[in-house]
């Protein structure tokens, strides 16, 4: 999966920072009891599924002058219902690039492919009655598989944990449509890898707060809303990343970033469309409003008898 924030930790340049706020990750949907956790943009959802993001997109600015257009894709395939593999990559174009720390040329337009990433995700627990699920994942980023200056330039491995909790089991009706999801990542570069002055080991993650109108309509009160509204899940996402290595290098080589995404996911039967405004919360996270989004295909619904179903039946080692 294309980790939007982790890319910021790979180097000091604005170019890398540009990539940090571009090409949102593609994410799966997940069901725990009465709850559907929608695909989110800044972090991944807690489920495993057969699906694809074709594409994810972003328009941001790392410095207020450079414009970064990003396109990304991801495909996830279940081996078991609770074990999935994924492949992802992305393409970025920097317009009026003001990054004078690279050799690409200031003020010009450049484009290139980012890291190729492979991941393995395991959903280890689902508690339907509490609308809760959690997964863990390991991802391998091939940081030399893309275009020089757009990929990390080094390989790394990321260990991730995810959770999702719907509030439907709380006996206070107004908050029952809400759900919270979260992700925590720890990224370790290959041995001996440094970026600029030091270690590029990193933490990243985020939280989302979702209000499911489909849940409201089908579990609490049917207001007879039109489909355009009835299938909508407004949400807020907070993403974060920071260095995990030498703290002395953080201000320059490993800037801590905070970003806020505000938007909504429209979920159909076979697909979903998400779009959010991206608000950088500090100077290291970009400048000005950005826009991110994705078109998401549910292969388990589109191709239920072929590539949309797990290779093997069962949910091994799931609580």
């Amino acid at each position: 999966m294309i980790r939007t924030f982790r890319r910021a930790l790979g180097g000091a340049s604005l170019l890398v920072l540009a990539l940090a706020v571009s090409t949102p990750a593609a994410h799966a949907h997940a069901i725990a009891g009465d709850r559907v956790f929608v695909n989110t943009l800044l972090i991944d959802d807690p489920g495993t599924a057969d699906e694809a993001s074709l594409p994810s997109f972003s328009v941001t600015s790392p410095d207020g002058k450079t414009t970064d257009f990003g396109l990304g894709f991801e495909y996830d395939k279940t081996i078991f219902d609770n074990l999935a593999v994924g492949v992802s990559d992305g393409w970025d174009m920097l317009g009026n690039d003001q990054d004078n720390l690279t050799d690409l040329g200031k003020g010009k337009t450049h484009g290139g492919m980012g890291n190729l990433a492979l991941d393995l995700k395991y959903r280890w627990i689902v508690m339907p009655e509490h609308e809760f699920m959690s997964s863990v994942a390991v991802e391998r980023d091939f940081g030399r598989a893309g275009t020089s200056g757009f990929d990390d330039g080094f390989n790394s491995t990321t260990f991730s944990a995810y959770f999702g909790k719907g509030l439907g089991d709380i006996p206070f009706t107004p908050i029952r449509p809400f759900a919270i999801t979260g992700e925590f990542d720890y990224t370790v570069p290959d041995a001996g890898v440094t970026s600029g002055a030091g270690d590029v080991t990193a933490y990243s993650g985020g939280l989302t707060l979702q209000y499911s109108i489909p849940y409201l309509q089908s579990q609490i009160k049917d207001y007879g809303l039109p489909v355009a509204l009835a299938n909508l899940t407004p949400l807020v996402e907070l993403g974060w990343s920071s260095a995990a290595g030498s703290s002395a290098l953080r201000p320059t080589d490993h800037p801590t970033t905070f970003q806020l995404g505000t938007g909504a996911v429209w979920t159909g039967q076979d697909c979903a469309f998400s779009t959010e405004l991206l608000w950088p919360l500090n100077g290291n996270s970009g400048h000005g409003l950005g826009v991110i989004g994705e078109f998401h295909l549910y292969f388990d619904d589109l191709f239920p008898n072929s590539i949309g179903k797990p290779i093997f039946s069962g949910t091994p080692f799931q609580l």
Binding site: D34, D222, F303, I307
Partner: protein, 116 residues
Amino acid sequence: MKRFLPLLAALAPVPAFAHAFLKSAEPGVGAVVATPPAQLLLTYTEGLEVPFCTVTVKGPDGTAVQTAKPQPVPGHEDEMSVPLHITAPGKYTVTWHALSDDGHKTQGSFSFTITP
């Protein structure tokens, strides 16, 4: 090309196959009605395998008031009905488990109220 046809067929989108989510209900989700309904009608976003679906409706005292298993609705593969025997006002809670045409399981619950 011919040898790829089976593969293409396997990959072809299958219409109307997806998770079955509740689209509407009669009595409605969260509705307040004066007359006890003789049946509960549930309409989903996709077709159902009704024999493998379950619905329970419990009254204010926790007693089940459905009198039979879910029944298919002729001509409406996305619907199922459940006969009810309601004799008292109060809040009734519906809990359903659905199996869609393609084997996807979903579940949910809601309530409706019968006024005195």
